[in-house]
Symmetry: C2
Subunit: 339 residues, 2 copies
DNA sequence: TTGAAAGCGGTACCAT
DNA sequence: ATGGTACCGCTTTCAA
């Protein structure tokens, strides 16, 4: 309840001086500064954010647009963002924008227009043209996590093609030739899965091998069902599977076990993510660190807020291979090594 | 950029009238109202939230304090909250308060004091006394999801004892007598797991059976490891397991399968949650609907904001049994039925 | 039914 | 180094 006027009165100075002392801007003698600060803490003074925003034009708040909070990757990125923002004293406003929901429409039509934030972070948004227009129209800096580079926005993303390429190469190096790619290709065709599929295709083509793509929902049960289907036919079975993400890959591992196919001796499976369950399933995978991506995105945004002129930054991260025990040379192959 | 003054000018009225027309409060003739509204939409007018907040004292914003966003239950509750708030035009500010982190301290010391919200929702917070003080000191309505009832705050929670009781009873009714409880009891001793353990204990005691509690981290890998331990000893093995939550229960199912113990014929497993993976593992479970809990919490809070005098509400939800295929009578038992 | 003007709680410019 | 004061953009009495 105590306002800055009260603080000023108690400290025996003017509002102006009190403001300077508290915000730390402008000249204030050491003596008065401490006097003001003491008065403030004695009164339990906390500046009204709306008054500050109104006067300064800054909200000390960052908006985060996210399609799902209940998926591993998104939740991890969000944690990373939150962590960085908290450290810098920024609030975080969450906008849930699940594709195809009325809520998403409202976010773009109503909520963003309020501009209750100094900048935005969009996680795996994949906006359509109209949504993109709205986003740009806001006139606030935007950082994307996952996706394509725009000319005006910064970006933090995994190099998805590269990750899929490395996963595929890993199986090739072990001597596999019958390698299937599990995931994506659905109607919602996420950009991520598209890129990973591309990386797989290119790598297979370069190795002179036939690509073998099985669409699957990008979830653990989805991977399980798709893999169960795939592995059901005893004779036409791959010896290696690249999962578009760890959840799909783990689904495949579980399906294989249920069918009595032992991993890795009869079937190799590699994923992308390093999901929290990966270790438990001894899953070989290409690690990406979503929390770090989130932190990085927040830092890029805050930097942008500090120096508005600065050019946008595009960060392409490379996944690193973590070898566990879900991949091995195919049965009956001398252990091969391709440079 | 366009302010209400601009809108008023274009519509040929005063700021006051424009404000009335836009907010829908006070008398405005139908003719002028439409004129103002047209001017507003023509100019793409959006009211400045900081100005509105400063003038009205309301922020149209709800703060959500959450210890983890990357756990299923919490993420689901958050989705539910977001959904309800969005519908009512409220923003949602997220405060991450992972136990034992410096961030949590900052949330309680600095961020909450800013009062950038009209009310708070705390999900599974389990605040210590000091934190509770701070929470109350804010002077804004609070709704808790999960946990204990305070005299001043509303609450939405599952009846955890009851859920565990029902899970245990289910196994008893099938004829099991050697029933272990998996989960909780760790150092972080969450209230939830404590209550569920209590419900299990009481039910076993009433049935004249020896309780058998195995501590375990409340995660899928945690349940897996604990169950692997438990089931390793062939002779002293339970015929039924109650998991403190589905992730733990699913971990147990996976561990059993790996050990060649077939579920449900040699081992019954029941969980609590109805987690998104439950169906894939045919897990019998006691369903709670976290999204609905979140929506409900948001509605309670908004109701409280509308009528500040109203008494707090305590909602205790009952989980309902979903029978799948992870539970069956124990080997060699005539199918029993207890009324 | 409408308009004028006084705040809401700060910040920042301009003097002193 | 400090104080006076005009805003920031909107809501809300009070008078007309």
């Amino acid at each position: 309840m105590a306002g800055i006027a009260e603080v000023a009165r108690v400290a025996g100075v003017s509002k102006a001086t009190a403001s300077r002392a508290i915000t730390g801007s402008g000249y204030v003698s050491h003596a008065t500064r401490t006097r003001v600060l003491e008065a403030a803490s004695a009164l339990g003074y906390a500046p009204s954010t709306s008054a500050v925003s109104l006067a300064t034009g800054r909200t000390q708040n960052v908006g985060v647009i996210i399609p799902y909070v209940d998926r591993w990757f998104f939740a991890e990125v969000l944690e990373g963002i939150q962590d960085s923002l908290l450290r810098e004293g920024y609030d975080l406003t969450l906008y849930d924008a699940r594709p195809g929901t009325p809520g998403r429409k409202r976010v773009f039509e109503d909520f963003l227009a309020r501009k209750t934030f100094d900048g935005l972070i969009a996680i795996g948004l994949e906006p359509d043209d109209h949504e993109l227009d709205r986003l740009v129209a806001i006139g606030r800096p935007v950082v994307s996590v996952v996706g394509e580079a725009g000319p005006t926005t910064s970006l933090v993303t995994l190099d998805d093609q590269h990750a899929a390429r490395r996963a595929t190469e890993h199986l090739l190096e072990l001597g596999h030739t019958r390698i299937a790619f599990l995931g994506g290709g659905g109607a919602d065709g996420a950009h991520v899965d598209h890129d990973r599929l591309l990386g797989y295709h290119a790598t297979m083509r370069e190795a002179g091998l036939a690509p073998w793509h099985l669409p699957s929902p990008v979830t653990l049960p989805g991977g399980y069902a798709a893999a169960a289907d795939l592995l059901g036919d005893v004779r036409a079975r791959p010896t290696g599977i690249v999962g578009t993400c760890d959840e799909v890959a783990i689904g495949a591992v579980i399906a294989a076990r249920r069918l009595g196919i032992s991993v890795p001796s009869s079937l190799s499976v590699v994923g992308i993510d390093n999901h929290e369950y990966a270790e438990m399933f001894s899953l070989t995978t290409l690690e990406q660190r979503p929390q770090e991506q989130g932190s990085k995105a927040a830092e890029l945004l805050l930097a942008q807020l500090r120096s508005p002129g600065a050019a946008p930054v595009q960060l392409h991260l490379q996944a690193t291979l973590i070898m566990r025990n879900s991949t091995a040379p195919p049965l009956g192959a001398a252990s091969a090594s391709v440079s």
